[in-house]
Symmetry: C2
Subunit: 281 residues, 2 copies
Protein backbone atom coordinates (compact mmCIF):
# COMPACT_ATOMS: atom_id res chain seq x y z
CA UNK A 1 0.00 0.00 0.00
CA UNK A 2 1.38 3.45 -0.82
CA UNK A 3 2.27 5.93 1.87
CA UNK A 4 -0.39 8.20 0.45
CA UNK A 5 -3.11 5.58 0.77
CA UNK A 6 -1.90 4.71 4.26
CA UNK A 7 -2.12 8.36 5.13
CA UNK A 8 -5.69 8.72 3.97
CA UNK A 9 -6.82 5.47 5.55
CA UNK A 10 -5.14 6.16 8.85
CA UNK A 11 -6.21 9.77 9.06
CA UNK A 12 -9.76 8.52 8.70
CA UNK A 13 -9.18 6.02 11.51
CA UNK A 14 -7.59 8.75 13.60
CA UNK A 15 -10.62 10.95 13.19
CA UNK A 16 -12.91 8.10 14.18
CA UNK A 17 -10.90 7.55 17.35
CA UNK A 18 -11.05 11.27 18.10
CA UNK A 19 -14.81 11.29 17.67
CA UNK A 20 -15.31 8.31 19.94
CA UNK A 21 -12.73 9.24 22.55
CA UNK A 22 -14.75 11.90 24.45
CA UNK A 23 -17.28 9.18 25.29
CA UNK A 24 -14.67 7.13 27.14
CA UNK A 25 -14.53 7.62 30.89
CA UNK A 26 -11.79 6.51 33.26
CA UNK A 27 -12.18 2.87 34.13
CA UNK A 28 -14.16 2.04 31.01
CA UNK A 29 -12.40 -0.01 28.40
CA UNK A 30 -12.34 0.95 24.75
CA UNK A 31 -8.89 0.61 23.27
CA UNK A 32 -7.02 0.29 26.54
CA UNK A 33 -6.89 -1.99 29.55
CA UNK A 34 -8.80 -1.00 32.62
CA UNK A 35 -6.48 0.47 35.19
CA UNK A 36 -7.14 1.74 38.69
CA UNK A 37 -4.60 3.52 40.82
CA UNK A 38 -4.01 1.90 44.18
CA UNK A 39 -6.47 3.29 46.70
CA UNK A 40 -4.86 1.76 49.79
CA UNK A 41 -1.98 3.09 51.92
CA UNK A 42 -3.02 6.77 51.79
CA UNK A 43 -0.11 9.18 51.58
CA UNK A 44 0.12 11.93 54.18
CA UNK A 45 2.82 14.23 55.46
CA UNK A 46 4.59 14.61 58.79
CA UNK A 47 4.71 18.30 59.63
CA UNK A 48 8.44 18.22 60.49
CA UNK A 49 8.90 18.40 56.70
CA UNK A 50 7.60 22.00 56.90
CA UNK A 51 9.61 23.18 59.92
CA UNK A 52 10.91 26.16 57.93
CA UNK A 53 7.51 27.26 56.61
CA UNK A 54 4.40 28.85 58.01
CA UNK A 55 0.92 27.36 57.78
CA UNK A 56 -0.18 29.02 54.50
CA UNK A 57 3.08 27.99 52.81
CA UNK A 58 2.69 24.41 54.07
CA UNK A 59 -0.90 24.23 52.86
CA UNK A 60 0.09 25.58 49.46
CA UNK A 61 2.77 22.89 49.10
CA UNK A 62 0.41 20.10 50.15
CA UNK A 63 -2.21 21.31 47.68
CA UNK A 64 0.34 21.26 44.90
CA UNK A 65 1.36 17.74 45.98
CA UNK A 66 -2.28 16.61 46.09
CA UNK A 67 -1.81 15.56 49.73
CA UNK A 68 -4.69 15.94 52.16
CA UNK A 69 -3.63 14.28 55.41
CA UNK A 70 -1.02 15.36 57.91
CA UNK A 71 0.19 15.11 61.48
CA UNK A 72 0.91 18.49 63.05
CA UNK A 73 3.90 19.66 65.10
CA UNK A 74 3.84 22.21 67.92
CA UNK A 75 5.65 24.86 65.85
CA UNK A 76 2.40 25.13 63.88
CA UNK A 77 0.04 24.27 66.75
CA UNK A 78 1.67 25.49 69.99
CA UNK A 79 1.11 23.35 73.11
CA UNK A 80 -0.13 26.32 75.15
CA UNK A 81 -2.78 27.38 72.61
CA UNK A 82 -6.30 28.11 73.83
CA UNK A 83 -9.07 25.85 72.51
CA UNK A 84 -10.22 28.77 70.32
CA UNK A 85 -6.75 29.17 68.82
CA UNK A 86 -6.50 25.41 68.20
CA UNK A 87 -9.89 25.42 66.46
CA UNK A 88 -8.81 28.35 64.32
CA UNK A 89 -5.60 26.62 63.20
CA UNK A 90 -7.27 23.27 62.50
CA UNK A 91 -9.91 25.14 60.46
CA UNK A 92 -7.18 26.91 58.50
CA UNK A 93 -5.88 23.52 57.34
CA UNK A 94 -9.37 22.15 56.78
CA UNK A 95 -10.28 25.14 54.60
CA UNK A 96 -7.17 24.30 52.57
CA UNK A 97 -8.35 20.74 52.08
CA UNK A 98 -6.02 19.25 54.69
CA UNK A 99 -7.21 16.90 57.42
CA UNK A 100 -5.09 16.68 60.59
CA UNK A 101 -5.10 13.07 61.77
CA UNK A 102 -2.53 13.24 64.56
CA UNK A 103 -0.30 15.44 66.73
CA UNK A 104 3.41 14.99 67.23
CA UNK A 105 6.13 14.04 67.52
CA UNK A 106 5.76 15.12 71.19
CA UNK A 107 8.47 14.52 73.80
CA UNK A 108 7.23 13.63 77.33
CA UNK A 109 9.60 13.62 80.25
CA UNK A 110 7.06 13.45 83.07
CA UNK A 111 3.37 13.18 83.99
CA UNK A 112 2.72 16.87 83.41
CA UNK A 113 3.94 16.60 79.86
CA UNK A 114 1.86 13.46 79.30
CA UNK A 115 -1.19 15.28 80.69
CA UNK A 116 -0.53 18.24 78.42
CA UNK A 117 -0.14 16.06 75.33
CA UNK A 118 -3.50 14.32 75.83
CA UNK A 119 -5.38 17.56 76.52
CA UNK A 120 -3.77 19.08 73.45
CA UNK A 121 -4.72 16.10 71.28
CA UNK A 122 -8.27 16.14 72.60
CA UNK A 123 -8.59 19.86 71.87
CA UNK A 124 -7.20 19.33 68.38
CA UNK A 125 -9.85 16.65 67.81
CA UNK A 126 -7.37 13.99 66.72
CA UNK A 127 -7.38 10.30 67.62
CA UNK A 128 -3.61 9.81 67.50
CA UNK A 129 -0.60 11.09 69.41
CA UNK A 130 2.88 10.38 68.09
CA UNK A 131 5.16 10.54 71.09
CA UNK A 132 8.56 9.99 72.58
CA UNK A 133 7.84 9.30 76.27
CA UNK A 134 10.49 8.51 78.84
CA UNK A 135 10.31 4.77 79.40
CA UNK A 136 9.07 5.25 82.97
CA UNK A 137 6.03 7.16 81.65
CA UNK A 138 4.66 4.23 79.62
CA UNK A 139 2.29 3.00 82.33
CA UNK A 140 0.94 6.50 82.85
CA UNK A 141 0.54 6.94 79.09
CA UNK A 142 -1.54 3.75 79.08
CA UNK A 143 -3.86 5.19 81.75
CA UNK A 144 -4.36 8.25 79.57
CA UNK A 145 -4.94 6.19 76.40
CA UNK A 146 -7.74 4.44 78.24
CA UNK A 147 -9.33 7.53 79.72
CA UNK A 148 -9.11 9.68 76.56
CA UNK A 149 -9.57 6.86 73.99
CA UNK A 150 -6.74 8.38 71.97
CA UNK A 151 -4.18 6.11 70.27
CA UNK A 152 -0.53 6.52 71.16
CA UNK A 153 2.28 5.72 68.73
CA UNK A 154 5.90 5.74 69.92
CA UNK A 155 8.27 7.16 67.33
CA UNK A 156 11.63 5.44 66.90
CA UNK A 157 14.77 7.36 66.12
CA UNK A 158 18.05 5.93 64.88
CA UNK A 159 20.98 4.15 66.56
CA UNK A 160 22.29 7.38 68.15
CA UNK A 161 19.09 7.90 70.15
CA UNK A 162 19.07 7.35 73.92
CA UNK A 163 15.39 6.38 74.27
CA UNK A 164 14.30 4.68 71.06
CA UNK A 165 17.30 3.73 68.91
CA UNK A 166 15.17 1.11 67.12
CA UNK A 167 11.49 0.23 66.74
CA UNK A 168 12.15 -3.02 68.66
CA UNK A 169 12.68 -1.09 71.87
CA UNK A 170 9.42 0.78 71.50
CA UNK A 171 7.60 -2.41 70.60
CA UNK A 172 8.86 -4.30 73.64
CA UNK A 173 7.58 -1.52 75.90
CA UNK A 174 4.03 -1.54 74.50
CA UNK A 175 3.44 -5.07 73.24
CA UNK A 176 1.63 -6.13 76.40
CA UNK A 177 -0.16 -2.81 76.86
CA UNK A 178 -3.53 -1.57 75.62
CA UNK A 179 -4.05 -2.30 71.90
CA UNK A 180 -4.32 1.43 71.22
CA UNK A 181 -0.62 1.76 72.02
CA UNK A 182 1.81 1.09 69.21
CA UNK A 183 4.49 2.50 66.93
CA UNK A 184 4.95 5.31 64.49
CA UNK A 185 7.48 3.37 62.43
CA UNK A 186 10.10 5.74 61.07
CA UNK A 187 11.50 3.63 58.25
CA UNK A 188 14.58 5.82 57.72
CA UNK A 189 15.71 5.63 61.33
CA UNK A 190 14.82 1.92 61.42
CA UNK A 191 16.95 1.25 58.35
CA UNK A 192 19.83 3.23 59.87
CA UNK A 193 19.56 0.89 62.87
CA UNK A 194 19.95 -2.08 60.53
CA UNK A 195 16.25 -2.98 60.62
CA UNK A 196 14.55 -3.75 57.30
CA UNK A 197 11.29 -1.73 57.44
CA UNK A 198 9.38 -4.51 55.65
CA UNK A 199 10.42 -7.03 58.30
CA UNK A 200 9.54 -4.58 61.05
CA UNK A 201 6.08 -4.15 59.50
CA UNK A 202 5.49 -7.91 59.43
CA UNK A 203 6.75 -8.26 63.00
CA UNK A 204 4.95 -5.36 64.68
CA UNK A 205 1.85 -5.80 62.54
CA UNK A 206 -1.28 -4.30 64.12
CA UNK A 207 0.86 -2.31 66.56
CA UNK A 208 1.94 -0.06 63.70
CA UNK A 209 -0.34 2.94 64.02
CA UNK A 210 1.49 5.47 61.85
CA UNK A 211 4.52 5.64 59.55
CA UNK A 212 7.23 8.14 58.69
CA UNK A 213 8.20 7.46 55.10
CA UNK A 214 11.62 8.54 53.88
CA UNK A 215 14.74 7.09 52.32
CA UNK A 216 18.34 7.01 53.56
CA UNK A 217 21.70 6.70 51.86
CA UNK A 218 23.02 3.88 54.06
CA UNK A 219 21.94 1.27 56.61
CA UNK A 220 24.24 2.95 59.10
CA UNK A 221 24.14 5.61 61.78
CA UNK A 222 25.57 8.16 59.36
CA UNK A 223 23.01 7.37 56.64
CA UNK A 224 21.59 10.62 55.32
CA UNK A 225 18.04 11.54 54.34
CA UNK A 226 17.47 11.45 50.59
CA UNK A 227 14.60 11.50 48.09
CA UNK A 228 12.55 8.28 48.31
CA UNK A 229 13.77 5.90 45.63
CA UNK A 230 17.33 7.19 45.57
CA UNK A 231 18.46 5.48 48.76
CA UNK A 232 18.69 1.90 49.95
CA UNK A 233 15.25 1.26 51.41
CA UNK A 234 13.34 -1.60 49.80
CA UNK A 235 10.07 0.21 49.12
CA UNK A 236 8.45 -2.57 47.07
CA UNK A 237 9.09 -4.95 50.00
CA UNK A 238 7.66 -2.37 52.40
CA UNK A 239 4.50 -1.88 50.37
CA UNK A 240 3.97 -5.64 50.07
CA UNK A 241 4.44 -6.03 53.82
CA UNK A 242 1.96 -3.22 54.57
CA UNK A 243 -0.57 -4.91 52.30
CA UNK A 244 0.07 -8.26 53.93
CA UNK A 245 -0.75 -6.91 57.41
CA UNK A 246 -3.67 -4.94 55.93
CA UNK A 247 -2.28 -1.68 57.30
CA UNK A 248 -5.09 0.85 57.57
CA UNK A 249 -3.13 3.89 58.75
CA UNK A 250 -1.47 6.67 56.80
CA UNK A 251 1.93 6.72 55.15
CA UNK A 252 3.30 10.07 56.27
CA UNK A 253 6.11 11.37 54.08
CA UNK A 254 8.77 13.04 56.25
CA UNK A 255 11.30 14.74 54.04
CA UNK A 256 14.50 15.91 55.71
CA UNK A 257 16.82 16.93 52.87
CA UNK A 258 16.96 20.45 51.38
CA UNK A 259 14.64 21.56 54.17
CA UNK A 260 14.73 25.21 53.10
CA UNK A 261 13.58 24.28 49.58
CA UNK A 262 11.91 20.90 49.98
CA UNK A 263 9.09 20.93 47.42
CA UNK A 264 10.85 19.12 44.52
CA UNK A 265 12.24 16.47 46.86
CA UNK A 266 8.91 15.90 48.58
CA UNK A 267 7.25 15.68 45.16
CA UNK A 268 9.77 13.10 43.95
CA UNK A 269 9.31 11.10 47.18
CA UNK A 270 5.51 11.21 46.97
CA UNK A 271 5.66 10.24 43.29
CA UNK A 272 8.03 7.37 44.00
CA UNK A 273 5.91 5.97 46.84
CA UNK A 274 2.74 6.17 44.73
CA UNK A 275 4.58 4.57 41.81
CA UNK A 276 5.75 1.67 43.96
CA UNK A 277 2.19 1.23 45.24
CA UNK A 278 0.78 1.09 41.69
CA UNK A 279 3.65 -1.00 40.34
CA UNK A 280 3.50 -3.59 43.12
CA UNK A 281 -0.25 -4.15 42.82
CA UNK B 1 11.41 -8.49 81.51
CA UNK B 2 11.35 -4.96 82.84
CA UNK B 3 11.28 -1.96 80.54
CA UNK B 4 14.60 -0.94 81.99
CA UNK B 5 16.23 -4.26 81.12
CA UNK B 6 14.70 -4.18 77.66
CA UNK B 7 16.10 -0.70 77.23
CA UNK B 8 19.61 -1.77 78.15
CA UNK B 9 19.48 -4.98 76.12
CA UNK B 10 18.15 -3.27 73.02
CA UNK B 11 20.41 -0.28 73.25
CA UNK B 12 23.28 -2.73 73.22
CA UNK B 13 21.83 -4.37 70.09
CA UNK B 14 21.31 -0.98 68.54
CA UNK B 15 24.91 -0.02 69.10
CA UNK B 16 26.07 -3.31 67.64
CA UNK B 17 24.02 -2.68 64.53
CA UNK B 18 25.42 0.83 64.28
CA UNK B 19 28.96 -0.44 64.58
CA UNK B 20 28.49 -3.10 61.93
CA UNK B 21 26.37 -1.07 59.59
CA UNK B 22 29.12 1.01 57.92
CA UNK B 23 30.55 -2.29 56.63
CA UNK B 24 27.34 -3.02 54.76
CA UNK B 25 27.25 -1.97 51.14
CA UNK B 26 24.15 -1.65 49.00
CA UNK B 27 23.12 -5.07 47.81
CA UNK B 28 24.74 -6.91 50.69
CA UNK B 29 22.44 -8.43 53.25
CA UNK B 30 22.81 -7.96 56.98
CA UNK B 31 19.53 -7.33 58.71
CA UNK B 32 17.56 -6.50 55.58
CA UNK B 33 16.62 -8.13 52.31
CA UNK B 34 18.76 -7.51 49.32
CA UNK B 35 17.22 -4.88 47.13
CA UNK B 36 18.41 -3.37 43.89
CA UNK B 37 16.75 -0.47 42.17
CA UNK B 38 15.74 -1.23 38.60
CA UNK B 39 18.61 -0.41 36.28
CA UNK B 40 16.66 -0.79 33.03
CA UNK B 41 14.50 1.79 31.24
CA UNK B 42 16.74 4.81 31.91
CA UNK B 43 14.85 8.02 32.57
CA UNK B 44 15.67 11.03 30.46
CA UNK B 45 13.99 14.31 29.63
CA UNK B 46 12.56 15.79 26.46
CA UNK B 47 13.75 19.39 26.23
CA UNK B 48 10.28 20.74 25.45
CA UNK B 49 9.78 20.47 29.23
CA UNK B 50 12.25 23.39 29.57
CA UNK B 51 10.87 25.65 26.83
CA UNK B 52 10.62 28.55 29.29
CA UNK B 53 14.16 28.17 30.67
CA UNK B 54 17.68 28.78 29.46
CA UNK B 55 20.40 26.14 29.36
CA UNK B 56 21.92 26.77 32.82
CA UNK B 57 18.45 26.70 34.42
CA UNK B 58 17.61 23.46 32.59
CA UNK B 59 20.88 21.84 33.67
CA UNK B 60 20.32 22.90 37.27
CA UNK B 61 16.86 21.30 37.27
CA UNK B 62 18.12 18.06 35.73
CA UNK B 63 20.92 17.89 38.28
CA UNK B 64 18.45 18.28 41.08
CA UNK B 65 16.29 15.56 39.50
CA UNK B 66 19.33 13.25 39.12
CA UNK B 67 18.63 13.02 35.38
CA UNK B 68 21.52 12.75 32.96
CA UNK B 69 20.05 12.11 29.51
CA UNK B 70 18.05 14.41 27.29
CA UNK B 71 16.93 15.15 23.76
CA UNK B 72 17.48 18.77 22.77
CA UNK B 73 15.15 21.22 21.00
CA UNK B 74 16.18 23.98 18.63
CA UNK B 75 15.33 26.74 21.13
CA UNK B 76 18.42 25.57 23.03
CA UNK B 77 20.42 24.39 19.99
CA UNK B 78 19.41 26.60 17.04
CA UNK B 79 19.29 24.92 13.61
CA UNK B 80 21.52 27.55 12.03
CA UNK B 81 24.31 27.21 14.62
CA UNK B 82 27.89 26.85 13.45
CA UNK B 83 29.66 23.59 14.29
CA UNK B 84 31.68 25.54 16.89
CA UNK B 85 28.54 26.88 18.53
CA UNK B 86 26.98 23.40 18.57
CA UNK B 87 30.11 21.94 20.19
CA UNK B 88 30.06 24.70 22.80
CA UNK B 89 26.41 24.06 23.71
CA UNK B 90 26.79 20.26 23.83
CA UNK B 91 29.85 20.74 26.06
CA UNK B 92 27.85 23.02 28.35
CA UNK B 93 25.42 20.16 29.00
CA UNK B 94 28.21 17.58 29.24
CA UNK B 95 30.02 19.68 31.85
CA UNK B 96 26.75 19.68 33.80
CA UNK B 97 26.62 15.89 33.68
CA UNK B 98 24.00 15.75 30.92
CA UNK B 99 24.38 13.59 27.85
CA UNK B 100 22.39 14.61 24.75
CA UNK B 101 21.18 11.49 22.99
CA UNK B 102 18.90 12.96 20.36
CA UNK B 103 17.65 16.10 18.63
CA UNK B 104 14.03 17.08 18.16
CA UNK B 105 11.17 17.19 17.79
CA UNK B 106 12.00 18.64 14.32
CA UNK B 107 9.33 19.43 11.73
CA UNK B 108 10.28 18.73 8.09
CA UNK B 109 8.14 20.02 5.26
CA UNK B 110 10.57 19.41 2.39
CA UNK B 111 13.94 18.00 1.33
CA UNK B 112 15.82 21.09 2.45
CA UNK B 113 14.47 20.72 5.97
CA UNK B 114 15.31 17.01 5.98
CA UNK B 115 18.84 17.85 4.80
CA UNK B 116 19.19 20.46 7.51
CA UNK B 117 17.99 18.08 10.23
CA UNK B 118 20.52 15.38 9.38
CA UNK B 119 23.45 17.83 9.16
CA UNK B 120 22.37 19.33 12.46
CA UNK B 121 22.15 15.88 14.12
CA UNK B 122 25.55 14.90 12.71
CA UNK B 123 27.13 18.11 14.01
CA UNK B 124 25.53 17.55 17.40
CA UNK B 125 27.05 14.07 17.48
CA UNK B 126 23.77 12.31 18.22
CA UNK B 127 22.53 9.04 16.76
CA UNK B 128 18.82 9.88 16.88
CA UNK B 129 16.49 12.43 15.28
CA UNK B 130 12.95 12.76 16.56
CA UNK B 131 10.97 14.18 13.70
CA UNK B 132 7.64 15.09 12.23
CA UNK B 133 8.17 14.79 8.48
CA UNK B 134 5.50 15.38 5.89
CA UNK B 135 4.39 11.95 4.71
CA UNK B 136 5.83 12.51 1.25
CA UNK B 137 9.30 13.01 2.75
CA UNK B 138 9.51 9.51 4.26
CA UNK B 139 11.37 7.97 1.32
CA UNK B 140 13.88 10.80 1.33
CA UNK B 141 14.29 10.48 5.10
CA UNK B 142 15.12 6.80 4.55
CA UNK B 143 17.87 7.75 2.10
CA UNK B 144 19.34 10.06 4.70
CA UNK B 145 19.07 7.46 7.48
CA UNK B 146 21.13 5.14 5.32
CA UNK B 147 23.75 7.67 4.31
CA UNK B 148 24.19 9.24 7.78
CA UNK B 149 23.57 6.08 9.85
CA UNK B 150 21.37 8.16 12.18
CA UNK B 151 18.15 6.69 13.55
CA UNK B 152 14.91 8.49 12.84
CA UNK B 153 11.91 8.34 15.19
CA UNK B 154 8.57 9.82 14.12
CA UNK B 155 6.77 11.54 16.95
CA UNK B 156 3.00 11.05 17.21
CA UNK B 157 0.70 13.81 18.34
CA UNK B 158 -2.92 13.45 19.43
CA UNK B 159 -6.20 13.07 17.56
CA UNK B 160 -6.29 16.75 16.54
CA UNK B 161 -3.04 16.44 14.56
CA UNK B 162 -3.11 16.50 10.75
CA UNK B 163 0.02 14.38 10.16
CA UNK B 164 0.36 11.93 13.04
CA UNK B 165 -2.86 11.77 15.09
CA UNK B 166 -1.82 8.33 16.39
CA UNK B 167 1.31 6.15 16.53
CA UNK B 168 -0.37 3.68 14.14
CA UNK B 169 -0.12 6.15 11.29
CA UNK B 170 3.57 6.71 11.86
CA UNK B 171 4.15 2.97 12.21
CA UNK B 172 2.42 2.14 8.94
CA UNK B 173 4.64 4.62 7.12
CA UNK B 174 7.92 3.15 8.40
CA UNK B 175 7.21 -0.52 9.07
CA UNK B 176 8.62 -1.63 5.71
CA UNK B 177 11.46 0.88 5.75
CA UNK B 178 15.02 0.66 7.09
CA UNK B 179 15.15 -0.79 10.62
CA UNK B 180 16.68 2.47 11.88
CA UNK B 181 13.35 4.17 11.24
CA UNK B 182 10.75 3.98 13.96
CA UNK B 183 8.68 5.85 16.50
CA UNK B 184 9.15 8.23 19.37
CA UNK B 185 6.05 6.99 21.17
CA UNK B 186 4.37 9.88 22.96
CA UNK B 187 2.23 7.99 25.45
CA UNK B 188 0.10 10.99 26.39
CA UNK B 189 -0.92 11.77 22.83
CA UNK B 190 -1.38 8.05 22.14
CA UNK B 191 -3.69 7.69 25.11
CA UNK B 192 -5.66 10.77 24.01
CA UNK B 193 -6.14 8.98 20.66
CA UNK B 194 -7.62 6.01 22.53
CA UNK B 195 -4.47 3.90 22.19
CA UNK B 196 -3.22 2.07 25.29
CA UNK B 197 0.54 2.82 25.39
CA UNK B 198 1.30 -0.69 26.67
CA UNK B 199 -0.47 -2.25 23.70
CA UNK B 200 1.30 0.15 21.34
CA UNK B 201 4.63 -0.91 22.82
CA UNK B 202 3.88 -4.60 22.29
CA UNK B 203 2.67 -3.93 18.75
CA UNK B 204 5.43 -1.62 17.49
CA UNK B 205 8.12 -3.43 19.45
CA UNK B 206 11.62 -2.88 18.04
CA UNK B 207 10.39 0.07 16.02
CA UNK B 208 10.07 2.09 19.22
CA UNK B 209 13.26 4.11 19.32
CA UNK B 210 12.36 6.75 21.91
CA UNK B 211 9.50 7.61 24.29
CA UNK B 212 7.82 10.73 25.60
CA UNK B 213 6.57 9.87 29.07
CA UNK B 214 3.71 11.89 30.55
CA UNK B 215 0.23 11.38 31.93
CA UNK B 216 -3.13 12.75 30.79
CA UNK B 217 -6.44 13.36 32.52
CA UNK B 218 -8.59 11.58 29.94
CA UNK B 219 -8.41 9.20 26.98
CA UNK B 220 -9.93 11.91 24.84
CA UNK B 221 -8.83 14.75 22.61
CA UNK B 222 -9.36 17.23 25.44
CA UNK B 223 -7.30 15.18 27.93
CA UNK B 224 -4.86 17.50 29.71
CA UNK B 225 -1.26 16.95 30.73
CA UNK B 226 -0.84 16.09 34.42
CA UNK B 227 1.79 14.74 36.81
CA UNK B 228 2.58 11.08 36.02
CA UNK B 229 0.53 8.89 38.33
CA UNK B 230 -2.36 11.33 38.68
CA UNK B 231 -3.92 10.64 35.30
CA UNK B 232 -5.34 7.61 33.56
CA UNK B 233 -2.29 6.03 31.93
CA UNK B 234 -1.56 2.46 33.01
CA UNK B 235 2.12 2.89 33.87
CA UNK B 236 2.59 -0.56 35.41
CA UNK B 237 1.25 -2.07 32.18
CA UNK B 238 3.54 0.18 30.16
CA UNK B 239 6.63 -0.80 32.16
CA UNK B 240 5.81 -4.50 31.86
CA UNK B 241 5.33 -4.09 28.10
CA UNK B 242 8.67 -2.25 27.74
CA UNK B 243 10.39 -5.07 29.64
CA UNK B 244 8.66 -7.67 27.52
CA UNK B 245 10.00 -6.18 24.28
CA UNK B 246 13.38 -5.59 25.97
CA UNK B 247 13.25 -1.90 25.16
CA UNK B 248 16.77 -0.48 25.22
CA UNK B 249 16.01 3.19 24.59
CA UNK B 250 15.40 6.04 26.99
CA UNK B 251 12.18 7.02 28.73
CA UNK B 252 12.09 10.76 28.19
CA UNK B 253 9.86 12.59 30.62
CA UNK B 254 8.02 15.40 28.81
CA UNK B 255 6.17 17.50 31.35
CA UNK B 256 3.64 19.97 29.97
CA UNK B 257 1.73 21.27 33.00
CA UNK B 258 2.79 24.34 35.02
CA UNK B 259 5.42 24.99 32.39
CA UNK B 260 6.56 28.25 34.01
CA UNK B 261 7.23 26.43 37.32
CA UNK B 262 7.63 22.78 36.34
CA UNK B 263 10.21 21.42 38.80
CA UNK B 264 7.84 19.92 41.42
CA UNK B 265 5.68 18.32 38.73
CA UNK B 266 8.67 16.91 36.85
CA UNK B 267 10.03 15.59 40.16
CA UNK B 268 6.74 13.89 41.00
CA UNK B 269 6.57 12.40 37.49
CA UNK B 270 10.16 11.13 37.61
CA UNK B 271 9.58 9.71 41.09
CA UNK B 272 6.37 8.00 40.01
CA UNK B 273 7.95 6.41 36.93
CA UNK B 274 10.93 5.16 38.95
CA UNK B 275 8.56 3.85 41.63
CA UNK B 276 6.51 1.93 39.09
CA UNK B 277 9.74 0.48 37.66
CA UNK B 278 10.90 -0.71 41.09
CA UNK B 279 7.46 -1.84 42.19
CA UNK B 280 6.76 -3.84 39.03
CA UNK B 281 10.07 -5.76 39.16
Amino acid sequence: MSSRRNFLRNTALGLTAATLAPLVNKGESLHFDEFEHSKDLPVGIADWTFVNFDIPQSIQMMQRLDIHHMTIKNFHLPFNSTKEKIDEIIKQYKDGGISIYGVGVIYMKNKDEVDQAFEYAKNAGVSLIIGVPEHDQIDYVQEKVKSYNIKFAIHNHGPEDKLYPSPEIAYNLIKDKDARMGLCLDIGHAQRAGVDPAKAVLKYNKRILDMHIKDVTAAAQDGKAIEAGRGIINFPGLVRALRKIKYLGHCGIEYEKDMKDPLPGIAESVGYFKGVKDGAL
